[in-house]
Symmetry: C2
Subunit: 427 residues, 2 copies
């Protein structure tokens, strides 16, 4: 491969007629972040130093605002005649790039792994089996001897699909020059065909495009679903909580910040504790609700590329306080005798120590314990499971049994965690 | 500097008459590890690939055992006439090295920072102000124009001190050749003088030598004192606990493993909890004893180069359990009414959460919070302070006040930790 690619052209002059509204498609928000924001963050992480944005001059101000707000830099190329097609947009970028460059569609969403893989190739990145787009709507490609022979939406029996991502050299501009002289509108597909571009297969990685409002919804759901971290999820999380929380996250991702979700969840958790004074049954249900919502901040943060170690840290400490407030108030309201309180203490401390033990492992080893010691995933006693158990036992009236169960279960889990850590460490 | 040094010669054929006993000096244990072990570990970490050991043939088996047991490799050079001096030992190593090499005395202890710095220079590493050796006993050096002009124990008004560490090239063997032909005994000082070696100043870093049994004691104390981690130490630790624990560590470092110390400390802590049933006063004192001993495992581990993230992890979880057992049993024995138990719960959870918050920070950021947010060091409520407070208040009979204080102090500390983390994160 002839050297690293350090510049990218993004075609953002499209008219986006099917979307309605006046916002250029690359500036539409999906799961809390503009499509273009996502691409620019990924390109920066992949070592792309220069960005060329081909836009319509009437959107200049919008794009300039967007870049300034988010601390990005880009060179504009103006296409005053978007009706001349995206091949013409590419043609206009010819004097802004020097040598090889990455070409992306401004209305496509890509995963980091996709772009990393695509940058290793040459020509058009194609996906033989796209998982995240509707094949009927996608642009199809026929390939022979590693080169494109035909391209279009109506191609039957295609070999692969056009991902809208290219690695090109300056020789492509000889082709666009020729086409621009000969015809009014040039589509990229014309350029691809005429140049008989080589293809580079990128299989099974995340990429999708946004053409219609329905696409926007679908893309949001995809991003949130990909944002589930999951390494510390218990069985209740996998079967119930995540199914609900990802739906909520997809709904609110454009409107709620991760911090908003963190504090809202904390508030509801504390409220559940206070509600014990009025109705332990309602409180137990609200506690489970807070457990479901607890996934939302992380999901939104990851889906909107806003994760921060600081956010995770605070969230984790707040979770401990929600558990303490809920269980202490439950025990206080229930009027246990003094002799039973050591069991309450055991249940509460065990709940905190389950988390303490795995987090302290990460502090010591710098690695997620669930990743390092996968067997730990199957040991019951995680927070989602404890909260669900609390709800069920409180609703059934077994409050004393709940504290006994927690006091035993959690400390057994800590013991097992130490043992698994010991075994993992020996290997 | 002409290339990296990747080979080292260690002179270990000395007779060590002043030590008594039959063990060669480099194989004497200081704070749980042989002097030679320490040098070999440091050299490995510094990229030295080849080790040449000059020894007396009668110690061959001892050295071979030592190397095998500890997984080191080295080439032996035998000096059957140690009375001919250490300059002669160096001379014998001439065919075992190729190009530049590091020369170390086998009975010297060096800090990693010392060796790293010494490897950057050329000739004899000298220290103008040694902090860890007795200047009266040390070998003195007179320097002019960056070269040694005189060397010896009795030099008056020396410019610096001989650290026993050299970076030499093969040309040194022309000098030893000449000396070996002319005289029977060659000391290194003869070689240094004759070669008019350049000097390289390494100032204030750790190095010391071991000539007498008293030196051995002093070296052990130095190593243990250097092994205090201290970033999370509270005022009680600094003023009281560390002063006692380092003395204990220095005493037991050759006999007790870090794991032995961890379990012993845990046992004494749990015993303190149980003792509450008999005598809360005695239990409180024993709890403080366990707090002092809590420093020993880490001190021994660091002093004997045996630290492991696994050991730190288990120790930390066990500390939490000691606190839980002690405080819960104290509360149970004291016969608090049910209405007071939420305060007990608050005190206990606060104690765990103080540690949870800083450890979870390290898990999230991969950095020690005390290093990142130094202001945190001055916030009261660390474990050593809580335990000392517990002892004092229990002895004075203020048990209820103890729980109130802990319940308020610890959670305030957690709140302040979150705030300091927030402020640190903004910067």
């Amino acid at each position: 491969m002839p050297g690293n690619v350090t510049q990218a052209v993004i075609l953002a002059a499209g008219q986006g007629k099917r979307m309605g509204g006046s916002t250029p498609k690359p500036l539409l928000r999906v799961a809390g972040r503009e499509i273009l924001y996502r691409s620019l963050v990924l390109l920066r992480d992949l070592g792309i130093e220069k960005i060329v944005l081909v836009i319509h001059p009437r959107h200049r101000e919008r794009f300039e605002e967007f870049l300034t707000e988010n601390g990005f830099a880009a060179e504009f190329v103006f296409n005053e005649a978007p009706e001349r097609g995206n091949g013409y947009s590419l043609h206009l970028a010819r004097s802004a790039v020097d040598g090889r460059f990455l070409l992306l569609m401004g209305d496509h969403l890509y995963g980091e792994d996709f772009l990393r893989e695509a940058l290793r190739g040459e020509g058009l990145a194609v996906d033989p089996k796209p998982r995240y787009v509707d094949p009927d709507e996608a642009t199809k490609v026929a390939i022979r001897d590693g080169r494109v022979t035909a391209i279009g939406k109506d191609l039957t029996d295609p070999d692969a699909y056009d991902t809208g991502c290219f690695v090109l050299g300056p020789e492509i501009f000889a082709v666009t020059e020729e086409l621009a002289a000969a015809q009014m509108a040039i589509e990229l597909s014309d350029v691809v065909c005429r140049a008989r571009l080589p293809v580079h297969e990128v299989r099974g990685k995340f990429w999708t495009d946004v053409d219609t409002p329905a696409d926007l919804h679908r893309a949001r759901r995809l991003l949130v679903a990909r944002a589930v971290k999951g390494t510390g999820d218990g069985i209740i999380s996998r079967l119930i909580n995540r199914k609900i929380s990802t739906r909520i996250s997809a709904l609110v991702a454009n409107r709620l910040t991760p911090w908003g979700a963190t504090w809202l969840t904390f508030g509801i958790g504390v409220l559940a504790g206070a509600l014990n004074a009025v109705s332990p049954a309602a409180a137990a249900v609200l506690y489970q609700v807070s457990s479901i919502l607890d996934g939302v901040d992380g999901e939104i943060a990851r889906a909107s590329l806003r994760t921060s170690p600081f956010g995770g840290w605070v969230d984790s400490v707040l979770d401990r306080y929600v558990d303490i407030v809920y269980l202490t108030s439950l025990a206080a309201v229930h009027g246990f005798p003094a002799g039973f309180w050591p069991v309450v203490v055991g249940a509460l401390l065990g709940s905190v120590l389950v988390s303490y033990t795995t987090e302290r492992y990460r502090a010591a080893f710098g690695e997620d314990m669930y990743r390092e010691v996968p067997a730990l995933r199957f040991v019951p006693g995680k927070r989602d499971e404890r909260i669900f158990l609390a709800m069920v036992l409180v609703l059934l009236g077994f409050v004393q049994e709940l504290f006994w169960t927690l006091a035993i279960l959690t400390h057994l889990r800590v013991l097992l965690t130490l043992f698994l850590g010991y075994r993992g460490n020996r290997r």
